[in-house]
């Protein structure tokens, strides 16, 4: 099994740099005080460690040079001063090499240097010609600054400006279509690509190590545990994973909630743990794992577990669950309002506020689930998308308003005539490819006067397979990349919208929550669609033009 070392490159580079500077410092000291052997020791150890680090990273030239330096040091411990220049030259080689690796280039062949060291080892004579290495001289003397601290608000300003540019690009795109000039098209396209890249790199600036919140919990847990007379150890994994600062702010509170629950209700008292044959000290584990487009965070405690049986019984008694409820349904109850109610809390011992946690995680597009084994452990798994900022959306007109529909759930766009609509029992549908697709008239949902040409009425079909819904709109405008902004709670409560987007004119428009519309059709219209046999009329007339 090959070891995937490249992801550790940054750690290697920063550590290697420290070792090389330690070698240089120690050798300078040793030149001044040749009798102080600790300086020799520290050079030796640094070289030795760097050798194995380089080998692990497959940087074989650095490894070879370190090895040669070790040989030199072993050969003559007493008179290092005699070959100090050769050592310095070797350190310079290592340092220059590191510089190259930092910028993504490959190592320089050290044959000449190795040859020089070998000759010295054989003859104990320093080769005086070519004393200075040519590669090191130019790159080395000034250590370039690699990282700087930047205030958050400056970065936020950059993010805002980048977003503004995206919005301006939309305006430019509209103009481009109006003018339709080949040269202009090319220039705008190029600008567009550059802007996307700029946006990406600006977002990278806001990344923060997840340790930033993990570290906060060390103290929280210590204090809470002490207060409750429990013994708890916190273990963290993956704290180096980077997340957008805003996302970290959003989930920090939820994690804190889960951890408080784990300390309070999960981990048992020392007495109980010993009675159960567990270690006196409980363990809470926080683990972050980076996936391709999401990050998973796991909060596990090796405590009492969740009493799902009691929870189920209570839910049945409260007529929330049927006795045949599946495990999934029982788990859902844990995150529902029920578990926050007074009747359940003392018994479930955990639920307080889990519905809030779930809401919070979902508001950033994430999911949360739970696994628990009685008297063994409880694990919460949170999965959140890494970026939320930009999506592709279709702009449509309904009444006098403009709305955005995220394209990920759009199946196709069709244009129908008045005769294509039909009543199926107590809801409306259109016939598309021989199948009835229920429709929602956005105009009537949003209570605005439709402004439709009934001979060419556009319908946006969302969903797939048997679960599809047609959204009837007035006109289709265009698809564009939009920057999603969170919306105020008042609008959020209406559930039809998942966010808002700013467009070229500076107007704020609402983004439809297609997932909600799709899954809550029945709720919205008070009809149960998918259990009914639709009546298929294959020769039902009307022309439809698929335009997408």
């Amino acid at each position: 099994m090959p070891i995937e070392v490249n992801k550790h490159k940054d750690t290697f580079l920063s550590e290697a740099k420290n070792y090389i500077s330690l070698m240089n410092q120690s050798l300078v000291e040793l030149e001044k005080f040749p009798k102080q052997t600790q300086h020799f020791q520290s050079i030796f150890r640094a070289v030795h460690t760097l050798k194995s680090l380089s080998a692990s990273m497959n940087y074989h030239y650095s490894e070879t040079v370190c090895h040669a330096i070790e040989d030199l040091l072993v050969l003559n411990r007493e008179n290092v001063i005699d070959y100090a220049d050769l050592l310095f030259e070797s350190f310079d080689y290592l340092s220059a090499n590191l510089q190259l690796l930092t910028t993504g280039e490959i190592e320089v062949d050290p044959t000449e240097l190795i040859h020089k060291i070998k000759s010295y080892l054989q003859t104990n004579q320093f080769i005086t010609k070519n004393v200075k290495s040519t590669i090191a001289k130019d790159i080395l003397p000034i250590q370039k600054i690699q990282t700087i601290d930047v205030k958050i608000d400056r970065i936020d300003t950059l993010v805002r400006l980048a977003e503004e540019l995206l919005i301006k690009r939309m305006k430019l795109n509209v103009l481009r279509e109006k003018i339709d000039n080949a040269e202009l098209n090319k220039a705008v396209e190029k600008l567009g690509r550059l802007l996307t890249e700029l946006q990406y790199h600006v977002m990278q600036l806001r990344l923060v190590k997840i340790d930033f919140i993990f570290d906060r919990f060390i103290r929280t847990i210590r204090d809470l545990a002490k207060q409750l007379g429990k013994k708890i150890n916190l273990v963290t994994e993956g704290g180096n994973i980077e997340l957008d600062r805003q996302l970290i702010d959003e989930i920090g509170e939820s994690l804190s909630h889960l951890i408080r629950n784990a300390v309070d209700h999960g981990i048992e008292s020392v007495k109980d743990r010993v009675k159960k044959g567990k270690t006196a000290e409980g363990t809470i584990c926080l683990r972050a794992i980076r996936n391709k487009e999401t990050v998973s965070i796991e909060v596990t405690d090796d405590g009492a577990g969740i009493d799902f049986v009691t929870l189920k019984n209570l839910a049945i008694k409260s007529e929330i669950l049927s006795p045949e409820a599946s495990n999934q349904e029982i788990h859902d109850v844990l995150f529902s309002q029920l578990s926050t109610s007074k009747t359940v809390t003392p018994l479930s011992g955990r639920g307080l506020g889990l519905s809030i946690v779930k809401q919070k995680i979902e508001s950033v597009g994430g999911t949360i689930r739970v696994e628990s084994i009685a008297n063994e452990r409880t694990s919460f798994f949170i999965e959140i998308p890494l970026t939320l900022a930009i999506i592709q959306a279709l702009f449509v007109n309904v009444g006098s308003e403009l709305y955005a529909i995220p394209i990920d759930l759009i199946e196709r766009l069709v244009v129908v005539t008045r005769s294509d609509f039909k009543k199926v029992l107590n809801y409306e549908a259109i016939l598309h490819d021989g199948v009835d697709i229920p429709i929602l008239r956005l105009g009537s949902i949003f209570n605005c006067k439709a402004n439709v040409d009934y001979t060419r009425n556009p319908v946006v079909i969302i969903g797939k397979g048997t679960k599809r819904v047609g959204l009837v709109v007035d006109t289709l405008i265009a698809t564009q990349e939009v920057v999603v902004k969170p919306i105020s709670r008042i609008i959020k409560n209406s559930k039809f919208f998942s966010g808002a987007a700013l467009i070229g004119s500076g107007q704020m428009i609402l983004i439809l929550d297609t997932s909600y519309l799709l899954h809550s059709m029945s709720e919205i219209l008070g009809v149960n669609f998918y259990d009914q046999e639709s009546i298929h009329v294959n020769n039902h007339g009307g022309k439809q033009n698929a335009i997408f």
Partner: protein, 127 residues
């Protein structure tokens, strides 16, 4: 949950070791792992006093001395089973091996690390 202590003065090495153990799926199916880290013998000693480890991965040459790992074993051998220790070093000095033998250590790994060997040694210790 198996508790593993990694003692190495290089954060890079500690990361790499964890990474190797955390990416072998066959191995992970058998064991749930929790890692503890120490960058030297003092820190490691604090851990060993408190936690019953199932395995210790131990570097020999560290910041404090060229034989820090061995000194650490000498300090803990009364309270910790040396069979659960895996020595890691790139030093191939016969003197050091002899010293390890005297202390009852049977498992060595040489740097650069080979993933297969690490998994094998740790599996044996955890078995």
């Amino acid at each position: 949950m198996k508790k593993i202590l990694i003692v190495d003065d290089s954060a890079f090495m500690r990361k790499l070791l964890k990474d190797i153990l955390m990416t072998d799926t066959v191995f992970l199916k058998k064991h749930t792992l929790t890692f503890y880290e120490a960058s030297g013998k003092k820190e490691a000693f604090q851990h060993v006093k408190k936690i019953a480890f199932d395995a210790i991965l131990l570097d020999i040459v560290m910041v404090e001395s060229e034989t820090e790992g061995i000194e650490f074993v000498e300090e803990i051998r009364d309270i910790f089973d040396v069979n659960k220790i895996i020595m890691i070093s790139s030093v191939s000095q016969p003197v050091l091996y002899d010293k390890c033998d005297q202390l009852g250590i049977t498992r060595y790994l040489n740097k650069p690390l080979v993933a297969k060997n690490i998994i094998e040694s740790v599996s044996q210790v955890l078995a």
